[in-house]
């Protein structure tokens, strides 16, 4: 499943909280070299032109965070956000 499809499974009212948390994980990640160059460029372009509030932006952010911090991201989505189906889809995408 694409990250865009996964984001569409997330209730709109929970997206802002998720986006905020994902940015914290990503910007504090120690294993930053896990970020592929192409994804890093996509992440920066998205931040410059649109941000991470809409479906496309959140999909880019989710992909970046799952790539760099998969365990933390999936655990947060599953336990804090109470989105078991989304967590399952992320495990498959990771």
């Amino acid at each position: 499943m694409s990250y865009k499809k996964i984001v569409e499974m997330i209730p709109v009212e929970k997206r802002e909280k998720l986006s905020d948390k994902l940015l914290n994980y990503l910007l504090k990640a120690k294993k930053e070299n896990k970020m592929p160059s192409s994804l890093a460029k996509c992440f920066l372009s998205q931040w410059q032109t649109g941000g991470f509030g809409d479906v496309i932006g959140l999909a880019v952010l989710l992909e970046a965070t799952v790539t760099v911090e998969p365990e933390k991201t999936i655990e947060f989505v599953e336990t804090e956000m109470q989105l078991a189906e989304v967590a399952k889809a992320l495990k498959e995408a990771a």
């Binding site: 940015l23 914290n24 910007l27 930053e32 070299n33 970020m35 890093a40 992440f43 920066l44 372009s45 931040w47 410059q48």
Partner: protein, 330 residues
């Protein structure tokens, strides 16, 4: 109107530093300064990437030095950046840190002359003509780029001592003063004025910049905790005359120096006193920071640089500055 700048140390992957650079532009900062140390990511790679993802923020090395990077190469780098981001580039040049330079095998001799030579060569090379110049430290003979630089680039000089401050006033378009306290800014401005006067310039020709250690958070204790490691390093590296200016006991400063020398960071950071925090950083809630910024403005600064650590959470601190600080002064 005062300008707001922000400093980043490119010690993390480029995409993190550039993320913050984009955020700073979006949140209303005017200037971006990237530090230049051999042990971090390369400043020009970081700046070139920043150029690609920003549209209006003015940026440059803050600061480079002529010992580690030859001034011709600095000029080439800035002129090339100016093609990527026309009119958005500035040079920050200082004398370099002797200890850091020594670890690379470079002996930083005649620092004042080296900076003067470097800036003279930099300005001449930007004219795109063949340059011959013999200074006390650097000389060039018939040096010329195979391309035409776009034009002049503002030069800011990193300065703390009286002679460098005066030189900065004389030949610089701006001065980057490593200071967070009005006493230090008052002193710096008095020295800058001497150079300005000698050159027949006006103070309005010089962008007097406070390059501060800054930390902001709604909870003051969190802001202070984030800033104390930076203050420990500032105390350890400060000349005694500056410590005396702020009434800091040598014994306490030496305790920090000794702890840092042994790698006892906990001991060093734990030895930072409230007086040291007051002297060497601006840390606290937005209201607390705004009060201190106001005092620096009264002392004569025209640019305020938010330097390391920015806050306990850099992203959230940039947002907080944008919402609670910048609007108070613009």
């Amino acid at each position: 109107m005062v300008k707001f700048g922000i400093e980043f140390v490119p010690k993390e992957a480029y995409w993190k530093t550039v993320y913050y650079a984009i955020q700073a532009e979006k949140r209303g900062f005017d200037n971006l300064w990237i530090t230049d140390h051999y042990n971090n990511r390369n400043v020009y790679v970081t700046l070139a990437t920043t150029a690609m993802y920003t549209k209006k923020i003015v940026f440059g090395p803050g600061v480079t030095n002529p010992f580690l990077v030859n001034p011709i190469m600095t000029c080439q780098s800035l002129a090339s950046l100016d093609e990527l981001a026309p009119g958005r580039v500035a040079l920050g040049m200082g004398a370099g840190d002797k200890t850091t330079l020594a670890s690379t095998g470079i002996e930083a001799k005649k620092q004042l002359s080296a900076v003067v030579d470097a800036i003279t060569i930099f300005k001449k090379m930007l004219e795109g003509k063949s340059v011959t110049y013999e200074g006390n430290v650097f000389k060039v003979e018939g040096t010329k780029f195979n391309f035409k630089p776009r034009g002049q680039i503002p030069v800011y000089i990193g300065a703390q001592g009286p002679k460098m401050l005066a030189v900065a006033g004389k030949i610089g378009d701006g001065v980057l003063i490593n200071a967070s306290h009005p006493k230090d800014i008052d002193y710096a401005v008095s020295q800058i004025k001497k150079g300005v006067s000698e050159a027949g310039k006006s103070m309005s020709d010089v962008d007097v910049t406070a390059y501060t250690s800054f930390s902001i958070h709604e909870k003051p204790e969190k802001a202070l905790k984030a800033a104390s490691p930076v203050v420990a390093f500032i105390v350890a590296g400060s000349p005694n005359v500056i410590l005396e200016r702020h009434g800091i006991e040598m014994e306490k400063a030496n305790k920090i120096r000794s702890a840092l020398g042994k790698g006892d960071f906990g001991g060093a950071f734990g030895s930072v006193t409230p007086k040291m925090m007051e002297a060497f950083c601006i840390a606290g809630t937005p209201d607390m920071c705004n009060e201190k910024i106001s005092r620096l403005l009264k002392a004569g600064i025209t640019q305020f640089v938010v330097g390391s650590p920015v806050g306990p959470n850099v992203r959230k601190s940039i947002d907080l500055i944008s919402e609670e600080v910048i609007p108070q002064f613009k």
